[in-house]
Symmetry: C3
Subunit: 273 residues, 3 copies
Amino acid sequence: MLKQCFDNVREKHPLVHNITNYVTVNDVANILLACGGSPIMADDSGEVEDITSICQGLNINIGTLNKNTIPSMFLAGKKANVLGHVVLLDPVGAGASGLRTKTANELVRDIKFTVIRGNISEIRTLMEGTGNTKGVDADLADAVTEENLDETIGKLKAFSEATGSVIAVTGAIDLVADSEKCYVIRNGKPEMGAITGTGCQLSGMMTAFLCANAEQPLEAAAAAVCAMGIAGEIGFEHLKEGEGNSTYRNRIIDAIYHMDGNTLEERAKYELR
Amino acid sequence: MLKQCFDNVREKHPLVHNITNYVTVNDVANILLACGGSPIMADDSGEVEDITSICQGLNINIGTLNKNTIPSMFLAGKKANVLGHVVLLDPVGAGASGLRTKTANELVRDIKFTVIRGNISEIRTLMEGTGNTKGVDADLADAVTEENLDETIGKLKAFSEATGSVIAVTGAIDLVADSEKCYVIRNGKPEMGAITGTGCQLSGMMTAFLCANAEQPLEAAAAAVCAMGIAGEIGFEHLKEGEGNSTYRNRIIDAIYHMDGNTLEERAKYELR
Amino acid sequence: MLKQCFDNVREKHPLVHNITNYVTVNDVANILLACGGSPIMADDSGEVEDITSICQGLNINIGTLNKNTIPSMFLAGKKANVLGHVVLLDPVGAGASGLRTKTANELVRDIKFTVIRGNISEIRTLMEGTGNTKGVDADLADAVTEENLDETIGKLKAFSEATGSVIAVTGAIDLVADSEKCYVIRNGKPEMGAITGTGCQLSGMMTAFLCANAEQPLEAAAAAVCAMGIAGEIGFEHLKEGEGNSTYRNRIIDAIYHMDGNTLEERAKYELR
């Protein structure tokens, strides 16, 4: 199943429209190319409806939102909804400022997202109105642990039920839930946390997976999460002495570039709850 | 001749003003430094005339154009024309949205470009009013092939005649034409297409080549195209097992950093038609 | 002392708010993570006060300033002053345009900076009203040399006295001065000049050092300068055949990632004047 999801991306080369932050945008574009997708970045209100119309999916990331790009997010999201396109929200830093929290909440209210993907603090901000966001990183107090796993899964399923979106939470343990099922994924390396934008990269790549597997968004999102985690493992194995977070970033994208569906299937570590 | 063009860049260290997109801007800056130029990025209408005045050339790239940067492109371009500076247009995504097509056409109408460089779909959009732009990548239907080569060259020469600009089209076969001659260049690797922004990088580097060889823009543009293709070949040869598109990006810029005029001269594969 | 400064960063994980340019922003984020800090980038006037309030320090870099981000710099800087936070100014390109010079001067007038860090041309523009800025790089005519070293140090101490800020000037010889003392630092490699944004990276990392050592800004700034220079040396030692400025960029950040306080202490080359 995971294999098929990835094979579909390689075969269909989905074109993904990204309204994303300027911090990690280059890595998002390169990982989209690495997985078999094709990226286009456009954030001016004068063109986002045109651009999203020629794409198969839309990735909205609020990492460096501003007065000009916020209206573009709504315009593009609504247009994508009308066209029946895949739409993903990455609520970067929701909880860190009033503007981010308000914008993320209004996006969730006005646009039907296929997937909402964030760290646990961002998702708690959206689903509970409270989260201990430490800037753009999740707060330890919010962390998903073996102890609170079932409780957290229950909340994610309820939030999925309420929004109609698949909810993907990434961290030490990754969770991908719809209203009935939750993938609990244990791939990845803690060292990925020392790279800026692995979450943004995952959101971009996940949008391509969703485009190429529009009938099964839960599985597609889980496959993308597994692929990112496995790339983190493979990239780490390839690190040489003296190489640190900057080279690790390249090696993760490189690992996606060389990954095939079989590797994804074999190395994925997940259970369903 | 190619050697001299490159040597001039290394000797003159031209300062290049870039109004460019935020996706690939870092790579553009680093390749400009790698080839011997010096980059400055500035896109606010309150300073672009000042900035372009202290530079030798201007690189306008519409990859993430917006309401604020579009007027800056016109201001800087007109100022550069008044000063007799080199100006290059990279019409990223022309054809993908009305805003991009309109902006690119108006730039070509109002500013005298030394070179217009794009993929074949972008250039067709400008020269024929139609192109099958697939986002920021050329569409297969537009591809330059051995079969349509002479016809395409004829069109590029006519477009050069009409605009007074050298026209550079990059893809599997690269073409650099003025109204009378066309360089047909066969360097490069198809894997370069899996890196975001090799076109943007080429435009930045080409502007430095044009600055340092202002009397012969056709040759300077061809030399930059050859250098980029050869860097793609050298970078590919240096790839180690497991390295993919992200590391390849670095290795291409590294190859420009170490390239000298002799290597450029020896490895360039081109004919004149 | 340098060791303790670095150890404090690793222990306290300071959260740094960056209003910075889109050219080098990704490298700034990654070097902040590499040294033990945590970055957040936010530049909209609607959120910068919120964001800076949850951080321990603020890094203002005017590298691609514009109409929207300039007011944000003032809002965030004033808020950080009220909160008693560390604030650093990197006046990228001051002297290259009227807008940059004016903005940098007004920032220095209205905000109390813990440190002002730039190249010698930028700092001369601020302290003498004149500098030979060559775009974003210092002009050779301004270079700090053994001959003008004492004179330059005298000027920096006076500028520090006048502004109440530590003044850090980086180049072939690095200087970090308050009104009484000046660190003269001779780490680093000339090849760092072929990488875009080593100065921006240093400013980001220095802000983390200042946050973690708020009682001794002069020493913290000097420690960050030494760390960057040593990383440049270590990164250079790790370069393999064929690797150039793009890979070198990664290796410098990697070197910060693996550096510890002892290495910093042992390899730092400085004197006090």
